[in-house]
Amino acid sequence: MSLLTTPLHAWHQAHGAKMVEFGGWDMPIQYTSIMPEHHAVRKAAGLFDIAHMGRVKFTGPDAERFLNHVTTNDVRTLKPGEIQYSLVTNEQGGVLDDILVYRFPQYFLLVVNASNRIKILDWLEKQRGGFDVTIEDLTAAWFMLAVQGPLAIQLLAPLTAAPIADLVYYTGTETQVLGQPAIVTRTGYTGEDGFEVMLPASHAEELATKLLEAGKTQGVLPAGLGCRDTLRLEAAMPLYGHELNESTDPFTAGLAFAVKLDKGPFIGREALVQAKANTARPRRVGLQLAIKRIAREGTEVFDTTGSKIGHVTSGTASPTLDKSIAMAYVPKEFAAVGTKLEVDIRGQRVAAEVVKLPFYKRAT
């Protein structure tokens, strides 16, 4: 199967990107290496091509009711311009995807993970019976770029018609960018201030080039999926396929805030009521290792007596903290901050301690 490409594919290659397959797409993993790109986002800004993310538009009289039926958060509480983190769950309460739901005056938008786009489109198609809703996949026609970091606002504001400084976190606006119809939102997946921009695919290169030109003397860099992962991990944001999957319920994953059991019926609600009642469920914790070795996905976690108690879902060398960090699922009794544990890295037992999540939180 040939890989999908975003409208910025040639631009990545022209900027020296190393490309890898991700969720069926040919995407830049890094242009230089992970560390400098990571630091650029924390200290200046980084530009991420996120056009691989699925974007699905919902119109029609039942759009709100339909989305409330297929997602766990309460769509009805959204005012125009507001965005919410939510989950699509199956009847068993397993997570099919973690998503963002955007409400605009005329329509709703769902942003889904690249690797889950087709699965979610198929799932929505199966669930739409009895709802008067039109579902449109905008992924190919619209480009999407994230500009993340403390300088993001000064890079993007001059290109945008609307006053984006007025946007609070998790809101967005329909406006113009480069004179084109666009959506600008104050969202991201890095733990840093920043924006995500959607505009027609025809203007992808112009947007990326203008943002980079505006910031390159201040340390702004194009940033690949490599640092996107280290950034989101420091911010303790879950990644589908790692912290989340169809056999993990949202409460175990620590995402209770995105599940509104009292909003009325929705797919998976009965199972989720039971999952919430099961207080013996494992917990998602942060681990900090005693040495710099990386506890990668699947690394086994032990208590100090040597009993296996859990596994790592993501781990990396945190560029900001200069420590080895990981997220893991462990039983409740081992989840308290300060608990001493061990991980097995290629046969070596390495001391690890449960630490507070997120590992990194920006000063506000």
Partner: protein
């Protein structure tokens, strides 16, 4: 270290032989491909290794890799400061970035290793 005097293994170690002492490190191109090194495990002085067996590990944000002994011999010295100065591996792979010295076993030959030109050609055949 003069690169033209070095020998190279397919597993990206370099070797410099002086008398019966082989100094071993990892090549600059291999370090560059690993990028963002975070950890290096050194062997213990006195330990014996057979050619082709792992004697240590190097880990980057991307992956962990074993280091393989290019010759059979006994570890007589390790670069103890290197694990805390991993940038030496990228800045000076064939000098300050040396990893270990082996006293090679009697009768050791280097015929199974490549010269600089052969290694460069071999490197280019691999996907990175």
């Amino acid at each position: 270290m003069d690169r033209s005097q070095l020998k190279f293994a397919k597993t990206d170690e370099w070797l410099a032989l002086e008398g019966d002492v082989a100094t071993v490190g990892i090549t600059d191109v291999a370090v560059e491909a690993l990028t963002d090194l975070v950890y290096l495990a050194l062997p213990t002085v006195g330990k014996q290794y057979k050619a082709g067996t792992p004697f240590g590990e190097v880990e980057s944000v991307k992956a962990a890799s074993d280091l393989y002994a290019p010759v059979t011999g006994e570890v007589i010295a390790v670069n103890e400061d290197l694990p805390n100065n991993l940038d030496w591996l990228s800045a000076d792979a064939f000098g300050k970035g040396w990893i270990v010295k082996f006293k090679v076993a009697p009768g050791t030959t280097l015929d199974h290793l490549m010269d600089a030109k052969g290694y460069a050609a071999y490197w280019d055949t691999r996907a990175h």
